[in-house]
Amino acid sequence: MSHAADTRRALEPVIAALNGIVLGKDRQVRLALACLLARGHLLIEDLPGVGKTTLAQALARTLGLSYQRVQFTSDLLPADVIGVSVYDRDSGRFEFHKGPVFAQLLLADEVNRATPKAQSALLEAMEERQVTVDGHTHPLPEPFFVVATQNPSYQLGTYPLPESQLDRFLMRIELGYPSAALERDLLRGRDRRELLAGLEPLLDGAALQSLQAHVPKVHVAEPLLDYVQALVQHTRDSGHFEAGLSPRAAIALLRASQAWALLHGRPGVVPEDVQAVARCVAGHRLELRTAVDGSHAADLDRLLLEAVAVP
């Protein structure tokens, strides 16, 4: 049996468990998992109270990952995130006290409320997967997955992440309000915290790492490479976007597509896999040149996915 089928079998229960906590967000749950599989970081942008934190916590629990949460505020210091060296009188040396970043799953809540200085401390750690303090390099645990949440930037007291920082996130997803029926279920059901507490880990860090190792091996056929390239090229040539996608973004798109294919038990990537993740991978990296009616996501579908033919 192929890795793909194994992966699917291993992850189906995880998806089911997550869907039990975060109702009606199957797609977002799968995207978050795909992001994790592709060793990327996830940015969730939405209004407070739609279940961002719940999703992050549920992920950590079901996947058996160590979990830390940092509430980003305007007075947060870099040391509050990565840790601090403290002089230990007993040993007579400086000792490094690890910050919350030394967790397998870090929830950086409301990341755009912190000052750019604190933001960049986190984002550097995300990129390097290690922390250097006082000349000592401390590797971060593996797997290392950051889920950052962000309030829409039109809210007060926010420091929007600059584009270069946004690029550090593999995907950006939105959760959105639940449907009426699901919201009633939510109201009728038990408290999410209780449910979370009752979740059993279905995987562990090591198992997740081996799944992550499969992602780059998912087959990418020539026509699919053409397709990914055509999509990226279109963002550069069409004139609808301020700036086209970078080669790094192209690699991100391919990795995410591979993870999505793996998640669905396919040993090779099909165009639908690319289309499924493209909006999340490209959305926060592209800025529309002219404001078009309708949501950004709809525009992206129309201007990018529907504009490029499947080879």
Partner: protein, 666 residues
Amino acid sequence: MKARSPGLRRLFVTCGALALALAPHLAQLPVWISAAFAGTVLWRLLAEQRGWALPPRALRAGAALGATLAVFAGYRTLNGLAAGTALLSIMACLKLLETRAPRDHAVLVFVGYLLCLATLLYEQSFLRLSYVLAAAWLLTAALARVHRPVEANTEVRPFRLAARLLALGLPLAVVLFLFVPRIEGRFWALPTSTPRHMTGIDDEMSPGDVAQLGLSDDPAFRAWFEGPPPPPEQRYWRMLVLEDFDGRKWRRYATSADSGAPEVVAGGALYDYRIVLEPTSREWLAGLDTVVRWPSGEAFRSRATTLVRIDPRIAERVPVTAPFSYSLRSAIDAAVMPTALPRDLQRRDLQLPDGRAPRARALAVELRTQSHDDRDFVARVLDRFRREAFEYTLEPPPLGAEPVDEFLFATRQGFCEHYASAFAVLMRAAGIPARVVAGYQGGEFNAYGGYLLVRQSSAHAWNEVWLAGAGWVRVDPTAAVAPDRVRRGSLPRALTEVAGARLFGDLAWLARARAMWDAGRTAWYEAVVNFDPAGQQRLLDRLGLGERSWQGLAIALATGFALAALALGAWLAWELRPRHRDPLAAGWNALCERLASAGVPRAPAEGPLDYARRVAAALPAFAPAMAALADSYVTARYLPGASAADRTRFLALARALRRRLRVARP
């Protein structure tokens, strides 16, 4: 090369193209305009580079007014080709002074196109056309450069685009050229300020006054024969007849009755041929002696045995101002209807001014008494030319008050005109009607073009005498003196061939190259420049549309346009063709097309799995087959380890489904 700003580069290209378009006019333009153009271009480029301000509006307006006045002062008109070109050129300079936006560049380019057009009005040679095409190419490239965003332009891209545009326009241009109704003559015949000086046959001949004969190597006409051309010594091309003699000058009679084509009574060889006469600005036409048939209709009339061109619409003689093509039949060595010479004509052709050329008259009378008939008398006179110390030269001494006597008895040096004049006087003095014929003698056969080329240097004069029972008989006294002149068919050839051969050795290759060049040039003029209504009619005849000339042209034009559009479409389709080297993609697309005609078209951006789901929903009967097919397509095309068997399986499934869809079609 120094890095230049896009604005400067753009200006540079536009100015360069404009200069190229203007260059052919430099010879005709006044110096001040050329200088103004060069100065303006230089200043404008510098201004662009240094960021100088362009002149204010008032100054530009004043300059425009001044330039217009200056052109008017120079030409006394603003109309016409020369003045128009000058005005256009100077206005291009002034436009350059306010050229900022792309629109200004476009105006300059269009001025350039107009200058190109004007160039072709002056001359239509192949070389000139090639040059104009090159200029048009550069102008189009400049236009393309101006109208495309800066980042879309590399150095070569506008030129490639322009070349492609010109190539795409070519079929349409050919259709328009062939089938837009042609107008007789040159419809663009704008008044030119300086009438071109035409060399050729004059309607006056005054041998004593010409001290030196100008020899032009320009072509006079070309003749295409249906069979082999006549032998060199028979190549006498009649043009006009001079009969009125005042003792010094020979003139033609201004008025005379029309005469029909002469009737061949016996013997002789018939030649059918077509002549293309170079412009002469005269109305008479050349024809091989003796023309026995000319085109029916009113375009030709023989007046005083001179063939002239008549415009049937105004029933007037029209000068040949553009190359003129006509077909004739001639009889050589034929006896032409020997009717009696009408009395008035006889009087005319015997007329000698009173008291002039007394010694010649005396000589004629003396010789006539020794001869037993007119024919013998002609032979005796020719014999005298041959025996006595007459010399053929192109630089004869000038003659005084009594040119005929002085030539016959004193100088004895002259060229054809001297001999023809003296011979005619001798004949008339002896009572034989005689006249001088001016035309051409000779012609070189061009093997590459299959025609006889007759140059201006072959201009010749000879005589015709009326002999009872034989009619008009051609006599060439020059042939008696200088047989080479007739054999070689040209004056300079006869005189310089020996010297030239000594100087340059064997010039055969040069002659060949010259003949080849002339043949190519002639073919170009024949096929393209002189494509006239008759040529258009011939083309329509060949297309089977000949009977209905106007409708025929319309049909041909419409068909040509449709064909050109079709060719363009085919080219575009080829250029934009979907390139599937992959048989899988081809099979998939074929299936998608079939499904599209079944009402479920695939969006170009739709993946196979999504599409299969949609098809399954829309056509439930095909749901399982479609699912299997999409699965096999994905396996063969996108999944790892796809084998040839997978591909074959997909193609077979696709074929099967296509067939089912075709059968199920309502």
